[in-house]
Symmetry: C2
Subunit: 107 residues, 2 copies
């Protein structure tokens, strides 16, 4: 699984908002997700395709509609595998940072 695709997908505020909307109500169609979004349907559709490619959204066609379902697993994996790495050095890095910034006054 491509972690990079997930990070790239999360980089855009429109896509993060789409995930938020799916989090609030799962299974929305493209049309529904377009409402309130100040851009063309095609633009929204492209964003959703990127989210699909990153495996953050799964879709299912139902008749002429396409339903979108949130897949929170990749986000959780980022939290576990990547952000977790930064928990340990947090205190140490903060101490370093504080010391360096205090040294700014007397270089």
């Amino acid at each position: 699984m491509s972690m990079d695709a997930v990070f790239k997908a999360l980089a855009d505020p429109v896509r993060r908002q789409l995930l938020d909307r799916l989090r609030r109500r799962n299974g929305q169609t493209l049309g529904e997700l377009c409402r309130g979004q100040d851009m063309s349907r095609q633009a929204v559709s492209k964003h959703l395709l990127l989210l699909e490619a990153a495996n953050l959204v799964a879709t299912q066609k139902s008749g002429r509609e396409k339903r979108h379902f949130l897949n929170p697993v990749p986000i959780q994996e980022i939290a576990d595998r990547w952000i977790g790495k930064y928990e340990r050095p947090r205190l140490r890095a903060l101490a370093d940072l504080k010391r360096k910034l205090e040294d700014d006054g007397n270089p």
Copy 2:
């Protein structure tokens, strides 16, 4: 604080790698961070400037050198404020997803 700048900064694999290297050894200079990076010094410098703008890296000039220090706080805040939101709907979304995918066999 601009959450968007942080997401954008994390979107590039080079920048994530730079953060990793600072996590392993904090306070490295630009020159050090350039070693092993297959691109020009200017390219690396630009990436570091972006990380600075996102407040993920703090710098301090020491003589003719520029030292870079990791600031893990924004990453932690993303974990807390943003990724946390996806923990709750995780089980529910997974159940939805499973059900939908199983329905795929008989549409």
